[in-house]
């Protein structure tokens, strides 16, 4: 293993996330790719150096990665599509990492794209949800369980929303860009949908695309002087149905297991994390993530939400940025890349950030991915 190369993200880009347009999935996917290869800030990045494309989406379209390769004008050695609902993007990054470490590829473009109408919005397999199939129902049951067991409050959940919405409104690519400032009272008085979840506690499925470029340490000088290295990876799938996760979700969830694996691989602990991108499809999920990632002990996530100790969800999270399913994990990586590298200092929330973490979930947390990134 000691001869294996390290893997770095060398560039990343988001499209402007939006509610719904007439654009095709491929036109949406092209937007961050064009920006990536044409942005002068990315200096040495050149599409001719690529030997793999991985496309992440829950679209019904077929042969997507090959179509995208044709549109970008490249002939990759490996061209694949990956879907795993909401954590498709993180899984695509894990695939890219594996291709590079194995030596099959040196440089991989990972692109996520989704339309608001994506077929990933419904998991027909999971009949344990009965006719309460929308994610808000399992999320409100998780919230009730967390409140009952640990005393977590709606106000603590609102703290998550205030932070993420106010980060989103400052991010020009976010769905909530330029919207009015949100306070605790706005969240608490927003329309209750499914107790205790209110309108502002929810992210919105939307349209958007993101792209990142990964390369091996052997080739890094050809691409950048500002690499952000992948230091740790963890993924765990427990099951696919809500009914089969209920017992473990507040104890040893897939996210907890994925987090342990990623920290072990990186050789660091939660206290080393300076910046985090957390899957907050609903505000309660961010509170549960604080615990799964080991920022606090089980049950203390609500209290942690009231503090502002490290940079969390600087792009706005899913609540502020929007949630195009297959894109989200890649957009999270774009943000951590921006927060750690020195390419765009204006985006950095704190100057001393060296290590970041990406936390992503799918289908009621039945599977989870955690990726740790760092700069030397």
């Amino acid at each position: 293993m000691k001869d294996n190369p390290k893997v770095a993200i060398v560039a990343g880009c988001d499209s402007k996330f939006s509610k719904n347009t007439e654009k095709s999935i491929f036109d949406i996917a092209m937007e961050p790719c064009v920006s990536l290869f044409k942005n002068k800030k990315n200096g040495k990045i050149n599409k001719d150096n690529l030997d793999a494309v991985i496309f992440s989406s829950c679209t019904e379209e077929q042969y997507t990665s090959s179509i995208l390769s044709e549109m970008i004008g490249i002939k990759p050695k490996i061209s694949q599509r990956l879907d795993n609902l909401c954590n498709s993007g993180s899984n695509a990054i894990i695939n890219a990492y594996s291709y590079i470490v194995s030596g099959l590829c040196e440089s991989v473009l990972v692109v996520g794209a989704e339309k608001t109408t994506t077929s990933g919005k419904r998991l027909a397999w999971d009949i344990s949800r009965g006719n309460f199939s929308s994610p808000i129902y399992w999320a409100s049951l998780f919230a009730r369980m967390h409140m009952r067991k640990f005393g977590t409050t709606e106000e603590q959940m609102a703290h998550v929303v205030v932070k993420n919405r106010n980060n989103g409104r400052k991010n020009k690519n976010a769905l909530t860009y330029n919207e009015k400032k949100v306070g605790l009272e706005d969240v608490l008085s927003s329309k209750k949908i499914s107790d205790p979840i209110k309108k502002l506690d929810c992210s919105q499925v939307c349209e958007g695309a993101s792209a990142i470029l990964l390369t091996s340490s052997r080739r890094i000088k050809e691409f950048t002087d500002n690499p952000v290295w992948i230091k740790g990876i963890g993924h765990q799938t427990s099951c696919a149905s809500f009914g089969n996760i209920v017992d473990e979700i507040l104890t040893s969830s897939p996210a907890k297991q994925a987090s342990n694996l990623a920290f072990k691989m990186a050789g660091i602990g939660p206290s080393n994390i300076d910046v985090a991108e957390i899957h907050d499809a609903f505000s309660i999920l961010e509170i549960m993530a604080y615990e799964d990632l080991g920022f606090v002990k089980r049950g203390f996530g609500g209290k942690y939400a009231e503090k502002n100790l490290i940079t969390i969800n600087p792009r706005g999270g899913l609540i502020g940025m929007g949630h195009p399913l297959g894109t989200t994990g890649i957009s999270q990586a774009v943000e951590i890349f921006s927060q750690l590298s020195n390419i765009d200092k204006k985006r950095k929330q704190r100057n001393y950030q060296k290590t970041g973490i990406i936390h992503n979930l799918a289908a009621a947390g039945t599977s989870a991915s955690v990726i740790i990134l760092g700069v030397d």
Partner: protein
């Protein structure tokens, strides 16, 4: 799983059972995920379970909850017929027993539904 939906369409609750592992399997599938042997269909005469947690959907104007029944977990409507039962779930303590009264397909066969009532 499709042929199992036929039973639900007739309002019959069905699950699968592995004789070898002596375990109920959910969702109903042909092979046991533990030993991969063929499962058998099971039609419980009565389905009484424990309400694990409950919420109220303003959107649907209904209480719904997750129920542990036959050692599987289902989300269903919790039918509230008395003030006493409403009080029970507002301050839910572990151990509230519910009974499956109806199941079937709704939304043009698009989704299964489960209805539970509180019995204790």
């Amino acid at each position: 799983m499709e042929n199992f939906l036929d039973y639900f369409s007739k309002g019959k609750f069905v699950l699968t059972y592995c004789k070898l592992c002596k375990k109920n399997i959910w969702p109903p599938v042909k092979n046991c995920p533990n030993c991969l042997n063929t499962t058998m269909r099971k039609f419980p005469k009565q389905s009484i379970g424990t309400l694990l947690d409950v919420s109220y959907s303003s959107k649907d104007d209904t209480f719904f909850g997750v129920v542990d029944v036959h050692n599987i977990k289902l989300i269903g409507t919790i039918v509230i017929d008395t003030e006493e039962n409403k009080e029970k779930i507002t301050n839910l303590q572990y151990g509230v027993k519910v009974k499956l009264t109806h199941c079937g397909l709704i939304n043009n066969g698009y989704e299964i539904f489960f209805h539970f009532v509180i019995i204790q």
